[in-house]
Every structure is written in structure tokens, then in C-alpha cells.
């Protein structure tokens, strides 16, 4: 898996990037991903089930995420749902995408298109 080059997958579509971001902290099922993205972006990014599962398929194929056997506490668990987990490779792709975006922002800042309060931190974990 480590032999793969994250850069080959860039740029990510915003939806895919958001899905990876939402899986960074926790393993989530489909609807939880939609909710997390919706909440984090203040409702600006609304995923539908069609878009979500198309992206999930592609991410599974590219081995950026995998089906997780991790289960939340029994009372919250729902047998019918599949949970997804980000892989190490997925983290690397997401980080590469974040750096790519940061670089873009830096360039825009240099051109004084926007002003940034904090200089870009080049690592996103």
C-alpha cells in the first residue's frame, strides 16, 4: 500500500475531500458522514446518498478508506449500517490535498487577492 503515490489522486473533488476529513476522527456510517460534512461546513456542502456512495465506492477502490469492523457502543450500534474507516494511505492523500490547497491559498495571498491572518501551517497532521 505504501508503494502508491498519493499525488496520483490529486486534485480530489470537494466531496471526496470532505468525506476523508469527516473520517479523520472517527469511523462513521453513511448518514453520519453526510451529517458531519453538513455540520462542519455550516450547511454549504450537502451530500446526497447518490453522490456519497459513488464517492465511497471510488475511495474503497483506491484503498483510501475501508469498511471498518470497529463498532460503537452497543446501544448506538445499528447492525444494518456499514462503518467506514480512513486508511493510512487515505490520510496521506488527504494531507497532500490539504497542502496543495494551502499552496494555492499562499499564492493568492502573495498576489494580494486575499489577506490571511495566520501564515499557512504546512502540515495538516
Amino acid at each position: 500500500m505504501d508503494g502508491k503515490d498519493p499525488l496520483r489522486h490529486l486534485p480530489l473533488t470537494p466531496q471526496v475531500f470532505h468525506i476523508l476529513l469527516s473520517l479523520l476522527d472517527d469511523d462513521l456510517h453513511g448518514y453520519a458522514i453526510i451529517q458531519e460534512v453538513n455540520k462542519r461546513t455550516g450547511g454549504r456542502v450537502k451530500l446526497g446518498s447518490g453522490t456519497l456512495y459513488a464517492a465511497i465506492r471510488r475511495l474503497l477502490e483506491a484503498e483510501m478508506i475501508e469498511e471498518s469492523d470497529h463498532r460503537p457502543p452497543a446501544e448506538q450500534d445499528d447492525e444494518r449500517r456499514k462503518y467506514y474507516r480512513i486508511t493510512e494511505f487515505g490520510r496521506r492523500v488527504a494531507a497532500a490535498e490539504a497542502e496543495r490547497l494551502a499552496e494555492l491559498v499562499d499564492q493568492a495571498t502573495e498576489k494580494e487577492l486575499i489577506t490571511r491572518l495566520h501564515p499557512a501551517s504546512s502540515k495538516t497532521d
Binding site: 453513511g30 448518514y31 455550516g42 447518490g50 456512495y53 459513488a54 465511497i56
Partner: protein, 921 residues
């Protein structure tokens, strides 16, 4: 809806379906759950979005699989199919043209309606988290009032203090009058902007002058102001372009400094987009106000007109209980539902009522802002349009399927030959499907063009305010007619592909089944009409759909004709109104007492009078009014029946000027105004409300601190649109509550412009500081109320006519092909001595039978649908039931006549059959 979703999932390849379908369904159910509270429009939007996503994703996935490894051959054979199909269509230009035209009209109608629905119902409101926004109303039914009453200031304060469900809440009040921006400025204003900016460089407090331009006549610039409280803009989360909101409570109390937020437009047009505007002072009605910011357009219909926004309570107004002039809006805290919020608010108010009895009997009603911005009639009307357009599309598809089945005739030998030469069934089927899809896409492109062309027509017909306002920062919705929205294009595309499959499936199956052995049969056998029963069923289907649409349009026409017969309560003909605003008190007093009489002396003017607020003018003033027993004077009695009543300040001659009948007693006259008598004329609704069955003359009414004696009774007036019955109303002398903001109504035979000129002359003598608005014709105001209905009626009728044309074409073509297929039989019958007359009537009878079957089906459908229509769409109809016999009768007659006309030519052809020739064939 879940079943629909499950069906859609079948579009995916099997392995994917096995792996993901369960999970996807589960997720969809959660999404549905989330949207359920937001009403039917949100659900529809979700369904459309999901359907489109899955369709596109599954199609993409399948294409990817197909292309994997054999993209070259696939494309090649596709190109060959398309070439062949195009050649096939070119060979039958007549059929192709009819099919494409039919489809273009049907898809065009659907796309147009969808565009409007998309713009009006499916676009989210341009606020963050719009689902948390609610309008807050008082429900005063327990006190004999209405269930949806505007808010009293103290009630809202109690709610805000006692509960924790509102993240922010505020009120606004529309001023009936306009303000004079930069009127005769007293003091230290600069005379031109350049000078102002120079002075301003030294000091922040210089008053700046607006560049006054583009107004009617000369004089100060009239601007429309809205008063808002602190909390209102926060609730909307509407950030100023520059500057800030009003602060609570320092700037939201009587005696606070006058502050103003400018609208973006006023800032641009009158203040030359000056970036240093914040902190400057401007002159409004001779009073200074400090600009604290610039607001982007506020996308709420009432407030779009506002040029500037002022802090509500700064004008020394306390808004006590009994003043119903404020409209309240709030934002619920995240996670709080409408039900729990309204329950908590009502409990809080009940608690407050135990301390203060005056708050008893009031309930709080929360309505989602979405609902408020999309009135029921609009929602229902548009849903009806969608239904009607859908029916038209079905009728069009049935028609095309019939035509193509007829066209199958000529294709049989070709297909049989290709089959004999080794064309597999799948290959032939694909060829036919390609041909149909090509037709469909041509039709879709035509439909798109139709929608595009009809855009300006629709915009013209659409009532103002139907399409949502343009919002800066989001897509310019209204500037570019909404059908330019990409989703409408997708809609047209999806619709035409669907239609292509729908109308193509029958002919395709039929053709591809034709075996090679058919080659051996004679030409005659090959030329027999295909599936007469199927065609008959299609025709009957078309007739039933045409009947449905005709009934819908008939019901709307009946409602419309009843709506225009509604008596407004006054006569709008020949009446023009102008809004006057006089900041100077002395001049205002003179104007109130002298202007009507001065105008009446003009020979061309029949009658003139003053009134505030203007009927149908969009704003009305409610007060709590109580009937007083003769002994009581100013005491405000709790126990007596009372409720909100509209009041109007009028001058003498008002009832004559408006053509409102005086039913008893006397009208208000000049002396009442001059002497400021405490008298009033009440409407008959008021009389009935307070003193049912008795004469109200000589009785007393209390309106807050004032009491008046009733001297006359006037007819009721429908101020809230034609659908609502008149509400109780009282008229008091305009001088009783002197205010320079008032409307003058003039009844004359002059043009509005001439009246305007005359008025300006008189005003320059009586009250030169008055700002005068452009003329408003009361006839126009009255007709505005009809516009939505006219829009629905015209659209539905247009669809109905198209569906009727489809049915006509369908009947004619089915019968013609039948007659042609039966030429041999007809010839034989003639040769055996049958009369031509009998052949003629035979075909006519066949046509009528088809129509009758279709009408029976249509009746059954419409009876089934009428219950749904009555329940869901009843608001669209007016004094007309969904089962109006007259409409059904007329529509059936019309259909019968049309089918008779459609059968005439085939019948004539049948009767002209030449027996010798047919027997020789």
C-alpha cells in the same frame, strides 16, 4: 418515496446493488426523516436531487463497465446506429416533424413550469439555516380575534425574557408613508457631495446631501423606510455590507438617537457608493439620523421596497399593548423544533398572563418563514401546474406512441429483411431504441427552445412577487429568467429521455418481434394495421388526459369568472391615489382640512378625499377596540367583547370618493375634521360584531385612550384580497390623530398625470414641503389581486388546448390508419352492396366510441382526483367545487365535438373507397 428510491437502485449493476443497496436505503431514510419537517417542497427537492444523482451515477458506472476493454467497438456501433436512425427519420419527414413538435411542446411546457417551481419552491431561502427562521404571530381566537394577528411589543418582550428557544428575534414595521430624504434641510448641510466630503474630512458629524434625482416632479426625494428592532437582522443573519446592526438595548428604546442603515441601492444611487458613509449624518424629514451601515437587499417581499432601515423605537414610541403593527420574526436555536418552541413560548406566555391579566387568552403561533414567503395559493397553484404539465406530457407520449405504431406499418418489410439477413433481436431492438431516443432528444432540444422562448411571456404573465427577489452574492435569479438555471436543462433532458423510452417501448417491442419468416407472407399481410386494440387504448388514454386538463382549466376559468365578480366593497374605476407626506405639522394640519375641498372645486374632479392607510395598499393598522356602554367613558373594559379592528383616518367625502355605500346615519364631513369631533363611521361588520341585530348609531367605541361616538354605518371593504371577506373597520376624522402621511384619493375623468399636475399646483400653495408620490390607480391595485389566478388559468388552459390537439390528432391518425388497413374489407363490402353512408357513419361511430371510452376513463380519474384536489389544492379554486357539474358537462360536449371533427376525414375517406381498385390490389 422509499419504494421509488429502491426502484431507482435497480439501475446499478447487480454486484454494487448487493453490496450497497441496503446501506443506501438506510441513509436515504435518514435524509427523508430530516426533510420531513420542512414540508412537501423540501421532500420533492430531495427526491429530485437523489433521483438525478443515482441516475447519473448508475449510468456512469454502467458506461464505465461497458467501455472497459471494448470502448472502440461500442462507440463504432453506436455511431452506426445513430447514422441509421437519422437516415430513418429523414425518410419520414412528416411523422418526424409531428413527433418532434408534439414532444417539444410537451417538454417545453414541463420545463417552463419546472423552472418556475424550481425558482419559487425549491431554491432554499438565501439565509443561513433558513429552516430555523420562523414568523411569530398572536393567535387571538380565544378573544374573538383572528388566528394570525401581528405582534404586540410587550408580548414579544415577555417571550424573549421568559424562554430560551429563540437565538434571536425582532420585529419590523412598515411605514405607510415615505420619508423625505434631504428635504428642506435645516442647519449645516453641505450643498454638494464634493463639499460634503471635504468638510467630512475634518469632522465626522457633517450632514451629507443625497444626490436627488429621478423622482417625479420636483421636491424632496421620497424614500421608503422600514423600522426594525434590534434582533431582527441578527435573526435573519443578514450581515451589513459595511457597518453594523442596531444594538440592544441601548439603541432600541424610546429616546435613543436616530440611526439608519441604508439599502445598497440607495447608497449607490443617492450617495455615490461613498465608502466613508458610516458615521455620517443624513437629513430625514428635517431630522438628523446617523448612518451606521449599508445593508444588502433583504429578500422578504414586504421589505424589498425599503430604501432605509431605522431603529424602531427611537421615535419616542413605546408600542403598548393593543398596537398590532409589528411583524415578528425569530431564529430558533439549533436543535429546537417548531413544536417544542411553540409549546415553550405558550407556556411562558401563560405564566406571564397570571401576573398581567391583559396577556390572557393569547396563544403564540410559529410559522416557518418558508411557508410565509410561499403562500398556500402559490404553492398549491404551482403544484397544480406541475400536475397539468405532467398530464400534457403523458398525453403527448401517448399520441407519439400511437403515431409510431402507425409508422411501424412501413417498417415491417425492412425489419423482416434485416432479421432474415442475420440481425439478432437485440441488435434490431437497439436500432429502434436509438431511433426513438434520437427523436426524443430532438424533441427535448425543441422543448428547451420552447421553454426559452416562452420565458419572457411567462415572466410577463407571472404576478409580481411570485418569483423570488434577486439576492446579491447568490445566483442572479430574477435578472436571468430562472429557466437558464442548469437544473432546468437537466430536467428537460431527463424528461425527454424518459419520454423517448415511454413512447418508444411499444413500437420497439412490436417491431423487433417481427420474424424473418414474415418475409414469406404476402405484402398484404405485412401491411395490416398493427395492434388496433393497443392504438385504441392509447387514443382513449389521450382523450381521458385531455378531459382531465380541460376539467382543470374549466374549473379555474369558473373560479376566475367568480373572482372578478367579487364586490370589493368600493368602486376602483376612475380612482387614482397619491401618497402625501408633509413633515411640517402646521402645513399638515392645513392640508388635512383644506386639500379635499380645494380639489373638489376643480371642474374635472368629481370627488376627492384623504385616507390613511389606503385600501389594498398593503398595510393596515389594527387597534384593539371595545364597545362601551353609554355610561362608561374612557375606561378600557376587559370583560366586554373586543377584538382587533382596522381603523382608517379619512376626510369628508371619503365614502363618495371611493364609492363605498353608506348604509345608515351620516358620513364624516368637513366640520367633523375642523372641530376634531370624536365621531366615527363603522363598517357593517363592526356593527354586527359589537351590536348584532341592533342599531349602532349613537353607541360608543373605545380605541385605547380615545372614545368615539358612532354616527354612521358603511359597507364592508375587502382589503385583504378578493378571497377574504371584509373585516371589521372604523373610520375616524383624519384630524383626530394628526399625521402628515396620508393618501389622497381622486375620482375624476382626467388621466393620472393630469391629476398629478393639478395636485402639485394645489400642494405648492397649501403645503409646499409635501413630498408627492407617483399616481397609483386603484383599478390596478384591485387587479393585482387577480394576477396569480390569471397566471394559473392561462397556463392550465394553454395546456388543456394542447392536450385537446393531441387527442384530435390521435383520433384522426388512429382512424385513418384503420381505414387504410381495412381498404380491402371496405371495398368488398361496397362490392356486395353496402351503402357508402353506412361506411361513413361506421367510422364516425368508431371515433365516438373511442372518445366515449376515453371520457369514461377521464371521468373516473377526475372523480378519483377531485378528492385529492379538494383536499390539497382547494385553495386555488374560488366558490367552485372540484366536481362542478356545469364544467364537466361543457367539457364533455367539447370533447365529443372535437372527436366528431377528427373522425370526419377518415370517415369520408372510407366512404370514398373504390371497390374495383381495392379488389384488384
Amino acid at each position: 418515496m422509499e419504494r421509488f428510491y429502491s426502484l431507482l437502485l435497480w439501475l446499478y449493476p447487480r454486484d454494487l446493488r448487493r453490496r450497497f443497496a441496503g446501506d443506501m436505503r438506510r441513509t436515504f431514510r435518514d435524509l427523508l426523516e430530516r426533510e420531513r419537517d420542512r414540508g412537501a417542497a423540501a421532500l420533492l427537492a430531495l427526491a429530485l436531487r437523489e433521483a438525478w444523482q443515482i441516475f447519473a451515477d448508475a449510468l456512469g458506472e454502467r458506461l464505465r463497465r461497458v467501455s472497459r476493454g471494448r470502448i472502440g467497438p461500442f462507440l463504432e456501433s453506436l455511431a452506426r446506429d445513430v447514422r441509421l436512425a437519422a437516415r430513418g427519420l429523414k425518410a419520414k419527414p412528416g411523422l418526424t416533424a409531428v413527433v418532434v413538435l408534439t414532444l417539444a411542446l410537451a417538454v417545453g411546457a414541463n420545463t417552463s413550469v419546472f423552472s418556475v417551481v424550481h425558482a419559487v419552491l425549491l431554491q432554499p431561502l438565501p439565509f443561513p439555516q433558513p429552516e430555523q427562521l420562523v414568523t411569530i404571530w398572536e393567535d387571538r381566537t380565544a378573544r374573538g380575534g383572528s388566528a394570525k394577528e401581528w405582534m404586540e411589543w410587550p408580548v414579544l418582550q415577555e417571550l424573549k425574557q421568559r424562554t430560551d428557544v429563540l437565538a434571536a428575534a425582532g420585529v419590523y414595521e412598515l411605514r405607510t408613508g415615505a420619508l423625505n430624504l434631504n428635504g428642506p434641510v435645516s442647519g449645516k448641510s453641505a450643498s454638494n457631495p464634493a463639499q460634503a466630503s471635504q468638510e467630512a474630512a475634518g469632522s465626522q458629524v457633517s450632514t451629507i446631501q443625497a444626490a436627488v434625482s429621478g423622482q417625479v416632479g420636483s421636491g424632496p426625494l421620497q424614500v421608503v423606510a422600514a423600522d426594525v428592532s434590534a434582533g431582527f437582522l441578527e435573526a435573519l443573519s443578514l450581515n451589513p455590507l459595511m457597518g453594523r446592526w442596531f444594538l440592544d438595548p441601548t439603541e432600541d428604546r424610546p429616546g435613543a438617537p436616530n440611526l439608519v442603515l441604508l439599502s445598497e441601492e440607495l447608497w449607490k444611487t443617492s450617495f455615490a457608493s461613498r465608502t466613508d458613509i458610516v458615521g455620517r449624518k443624513i437629513s430625514l424629514d428635517n431630522r438628523e439620523a446617523t448612518v451606521i451601515g449599508v445593508l444588502p437587499p433583504v429578500p422578504i417581499p414586504d421589505l424589498q421596497e425599503a430604501d432605509l432601515w431605522m431603529n424602531l423605537r427611537a421615535r419616542q414610541r413605546s408600542y403598548p399593548l393593543g398596537h398590532f403593527t409589528l411583524r415578528a420574526l425569530g431564529r430558533l436555536k439549533p436543535g429546537i423544533t417548531l413544536q417544542s418552541a411553540s409549546q415553550q413560548l405558550n407556556e411562558a406566555l401563560a405564566g406571564a398572563a397570571q401576573k398581567d391579566g391583559r396577556l390572557g387568552g393569547i396563544a403564540i403561533r410559529l410559522l416557518p418563514l418558508t411557508q410565509e414567503l410561499q403562500p398556500q395559493t402559490v404553492r398549491q397553484g404551482l403544484m397544480l401546474m406541475l400536475l397539468a404539465a405532467g398530464c400534457l406530457l403523458l398525453a403527448g407520449c401517448a399520441n407519439i406512441a400511437g403515431l409510431l405504431l402507425g409508422g411501424v406499418l412501413s417498417r415491417r418489410p425492412e425489419m423482416a429483411l434485416r432479421s432474415a439477413l442475420g440481425g439478432g433481436r437485440a441488435r434490431l431492438l437497439r436500432q429502434v431504441v436509438t431511433e426513438n431516443l434520437l427523436l426524443a432528444l430532438l424533441g427535448g432540444a425543441g422543448g428547451w427552445t420552447v421553454a426559452w422562448l416562452s420565458g419572457s411571456l411567462l415572466l410577463e404573465l407571472a404576478p409580481p412577487g411570485l418569483l423570488p427577489p434577486q439576492v446579491s452574492g447568490t445566483s442572479a435569479l430574477q435578472a436571468n429568467w430562472p429557466h437558464l438555471h442548469p437544473s432546468a436543462a437537466l430536467f428537460a433532458l431527463a424528461l425527454s429521455i424518459m419520454a423517448g423510452l415511454l413512447f418508444g417501448i411499444l413500437p420497439a417491442l412490436h417491431l423487433s418481434r417481427w420474424p424473418a419468416s414474415a418475409l414469406s407472407s404476402s405484402r398484404k399481410a405485412l401491411a395490416r394495421p398493427g395492434h388496433p386494440r393497443l392504438r385504441a387504448a392509447l387514443v382513449a388514454g389521450q382523450v381521458s388526459l385531455a378531459l382531465l386538463l380541460l376539467v382543470a382549466s374549466g374549473l379555474l376559468v369558473r373560479s376566475f369568472s367568480r373572482l372578478i365578480q367579487v364586490d370589493l366593497g368600493f368602486d376602483p374605476r376612475g380612482r387614482v391615489a397619491f401618497h402625501l407626506d408633509t413633515p411640517d405639522q402646521a402645513q399638515a394640519q392645513r392640508l388635512l382640512q383644506e386639500l379635499p375641498a380645494a380639489l373638489r372645486h376643480e371642474p374635472a374632479i368629481r370627488q376627492a378625499a384623504l385616507v390613511a392607510p389606503l385600501p389594498l395598499g398593503g398595510s393596515d393598522t389594527d387597534v384593539d377596540v371595545a364597545a362601551l356602554p353609554p355610561s362608561q367613558q374612557a375606561e378600557f373594559p376587559q370583560k366586554l367583547r373586543h377584538g382587533p379592528v382596522w381603523y382608517r383616518r379619512v376626510s369628508g367625502g371619503y365614502f363618495q370618493a371611493m364609492g363605498i355605500p353608506l348604509l345608515a346615519g351620516r358620513a364624516l364631513d368637513e366640520a367633523d375634521l375642523r372641530l376634531q369631533r370624536r365621531v366615527a363611521v363603522v363598517s357593517q361588520e363592526t356593527a354586527h360584531f359589537f351590536w348584532p341585530g341592533q342599531s349602532p348609531l349613537g353607541r360608543r367605541l373605545g380605541t385605547g385612550e380615545l372614545t368615539v361616538e358612532v354616527v354612521g354605518v358603511a359597507g364592508g371593504v375587502r382589503h385583504n384580497g378578493l378571497r377574504q371577506s371584509p373585516r371589521p373597520e372604523i373610520y375616524v376624522p383624519a384630524t383626530m390623530l394628526p399625521d402628515g402621511a396620508i393618501d389622497v384619493v381622486v375620482h375624476s375623468s382626467l388621466t393620472p398625470q393630469d391629476v398629478h399636475k393639478l395636485l402639485r399646483e394645489h400642494l405648492s400653495e397649501l403645503a409646499p414641503s409635501t413630498a408627492l408620490s407617483p399616481p397609483v390607480s386603484l383599478q390596478d391595485l384591485a387587479q393585482d389581486a387577480l394576477l396569480l389566478h390569471r397566471f394559473l388559468t392561462v397556463l392550465t388552459s394553454a395546456f388543456a388546448v394542447l392536450a385537446l390537439l393531441c387527442a384530435l390528432l390521435g383520433i384522426a391518425s388512429a382512424l385513418t390508419s384503420q381505414v387504410q388497413g381495412r381498404r380491402g374489407e371496405l371495398g368488398l363490402r361496397l362490392a356486395l352492396g353496402a351503402r357508402r353512408r353506412h361506411l361513413f357513419t361506421g367510422v364516425l361511430a368508431r371515433g365516438l366510441t373511442l372518445t366515449a371510452a376515453g371520457m369514461l376513463l377521464g371521468w373516473a380519474l377526475s372523480v378519483l382526483l377531485s378528492e385529492v384536489v379538494a383536499a390539497k389544492l382547494g385553495g386555488v379554486l374560488f366558490r367552485t367545487t372540484a366536481t362542478d357539474e356545469m364544467t364537466y358537462g361543457l367539457v364533455s360536449l367539447l370533447l365529443a365535438a372535437v372527436s366528431l371533427a377528427a373522425s370526419l376525414i377518415p370517415a369520408w375517406q372510407a366512404s370514398r373507397t373504390d371497390p374495383l381498385q381495392t379488389l384488384r390490389e
